[in-house]
């Protein structure tokens, strides 16, 4: 069982959250020419590496806020959590 520290509610169990994937992916800017490759990278292509991974979770059965979580994909250790609007440093 993962224990995720929601920046709004505190430590909660994994059951309350749903996963949203890689948090470092940025949508191509609106109103600009976007190549097929840009879309491909945004929609499909992922690094998905072993080790530290910034990812989105939603506290679905809690405050319903999206949050950013830095987790180790090999050990499941969670290092840091941020609110959705906080930049990854």
């Amino acid at each position: 069982m993962l224990h995720i520290k929601c920046p709004h509610c505190g430590i909660r169990s994994q059951n309350e959250f749903s996963y949203g994937g890689d948090a470092t992916i940025k949508r191509p800017e609106l109103g600009k020419e976007i190549s097929d490759q840009d879309w491909d990278n945004f929609v499909y292509n992922r690094k998905s590496l072993r080790g530290k991974h910034w990812e989105l979770w939603q506290h679905l059965s809690g405050c319903r806020q999206w949050i950013k979580v830095q987790r180790d994909t090999a050990t499941h250790e969670i290092f840091k959590t941020l609110k959705a609007n906080e930049e990854i440093s």
């Binding site: 994937g21 990278n41 499909y44 992922r46 998905s48 991974h53």
Partner: protein, 418 residues
């Protein structure tokens, strides 16, 4: 190579089984090979076997970080089927079914292929309609499919919950009678033994550290046991695909996720089919030892852990108990996890890459084991001929870019869509 037969068994019994040949050797890597296959799982071993058998390319090495058959080929729930709707998946899988039927003879190794049939349960009228459509598509592609109504399903699996007052009543199901199971370790060992006999070097405990790429061409691979040159290199590393792709500066439409499976304590024969729950993701069969073999959803987040978390297991088994209430009385014997190369449309990739001489085989999601022979056969063809075979033409890498997705179920890594 010593042929396995009842005569060799009797002969070796007389010497207390002390004189059997080694099934495969433990060679030191050579400096150069014609083809290097990275990954000594089912797909890698099958690829090497078919390279030697179908294309007479025997100067081949398989490089494996751990030991052969220690990854997903030894961790799956052994289900073999071709009950797909889309042509690309159906024809590929049915080609594989033919290889499965002949495998024990081809490999001179009993893989215990058991075509016991698979039933996908339907829990609504709408689901019956989609199953009818899928069944028709299967039959058009020459695959056996039988649409069963509630009474027919009840006759085959009376232990399922057919009471009136259930959340997901069984309306019927789609059966593929020729589907089944096989002994997964035997598949790896059988391919390894034959490949080794034809001259393939199976190099275990050998980790890939990097690649030698120059001017868009692959020249070799750097490993923990020295550099190995090769003009052609095939990647067959399932859940580790992204790790190797990083070393090649490639970003792929793949995420690595954790999938769990479990077996109960052994019980007397009760279930002679593979059965899947239609209102969630749960599948079950009974092994020859009597254990109920079960699996279901991904844990749902990127993971390389090869071990699972309990919430997913609990969720999956809740579905199992809803389908077959007697399961709640069984004790769990063992649970485990493997890391899956989840592609974004749920279908695999067997293709060339932008690097000349580098070939990619990945994205097997939940269905890698059943694809072992067909994957090996088509990947061997792709490597040997330097072009894809029509059977794996749909499994291209650039389909995500061009929009030609093969969305059989359309799930991929997004399990919550189901």
């Amino acid at each position: 190579m010593q042929k396995y037969s009842v005569f060799s068994l009797v002969k070796n019994a007389l010497s207390n089984h002390q004189n059997w040949d080694l099934a495969w050797k433990d060679p030191t890597p050579k400096k150069e090979y014609d083809v290097v296959i990275i990954g000594g799982g089912g797909h890698g071993l099958a690829t090497a076997y078919y390279l030697a058998k179908e294309h007479n390319i025997t100067n081949v090495a398989i490089i494996e970080k751990g030991w052969i058959g220690g990854g997903n080929v030894g961790r799956n729930t052994t289900i073999i089927r071709s009950n797909y709707m889309h042509d690309d998946n159906a024809l590929f899988s049915e080609f594989g079914m033919d290889l499965w039927r002949r495998m024990s003879q081809d490999l001179n190794y009993n893989v215990m292929f058991s075509p016991r049939g698979i039933i996908n349960l339907a829990h609504s009228d709408a689901q019956m309609n989609t199953y009818a459509r899928r069944g028709n598509s299967m039959r058009l592609n020459g695959i056996d499919a039988v649409l069963l109504n509630r009474e027919e399903v009840k006759e085959i699996i009376p232990m399922a919950d057919f009471s009136e007052n259930v959340r997901f009543p069984i309306f019927g199901g789609l059966m593929q009678p020729s589907a089944g199971t096989a002994r997964h370790d035997a598949v790896a060992w059988g391919y390894a033994r034959q490949a080794d006999d034809m001259g393939v070097d199976i190099i275990q405990n050998c980790e890939v550290i990097g690649f030698d790429v120059s001017a868009g061409k692959i020249n070799g691979v750097r490993t923990s046991r020295g550099d190995i040159k090769a003009k052609k290199i095939g990647l067959c590393v399932a859940g580790s695909t992204n790790i190797l792709a990083e070393k090649l500066n490639m970003t792929l439409p793949i995420e690595t996720h954790l999938l769990q499976a479990c077996v109960s304590e052994p019980v007397k024969p009760v279930l002679d089919k593979v059965v899947t729950f239609g209102a969630g993701h749960f599948y079950i069969s009974q092994s020859d030892k009597g254990e109920m073999v079960m699996g279901g959803d991904l844990d749902g987040y990127n993971s390389y852990a090869q071990r699972g978390n309990l919430p997913t297991l609990q969720h999956v088994l809740t579905e199992g108990i809803a389908m077959m209430p007697f399961l709640s009385k069984l004790k769990m014997l063992r649970t485990w996890g493997g890391i899956m190369d989840m592609s974004m449309d749920g279908s695999p990739i067997i293709d060339k890459t932008h690097i000349e001489g580098l070939y990619l085989n990945c994205g097997w999601c939940y269905g890698g084991f059943k694809a072992t022979p067909a994957s090996g056969w088509t990947f061997a063809h792709t490597i040997a001929q330097d072009r894809v075979h029509e059977l794996n033409a749909g499994y291209s890498l650039n389909r995500f870019n061009t929009g030609h997705l093969l969305d059989e179920k359309g799930l991929g890594t997004k399990t919550w869509i189901s």
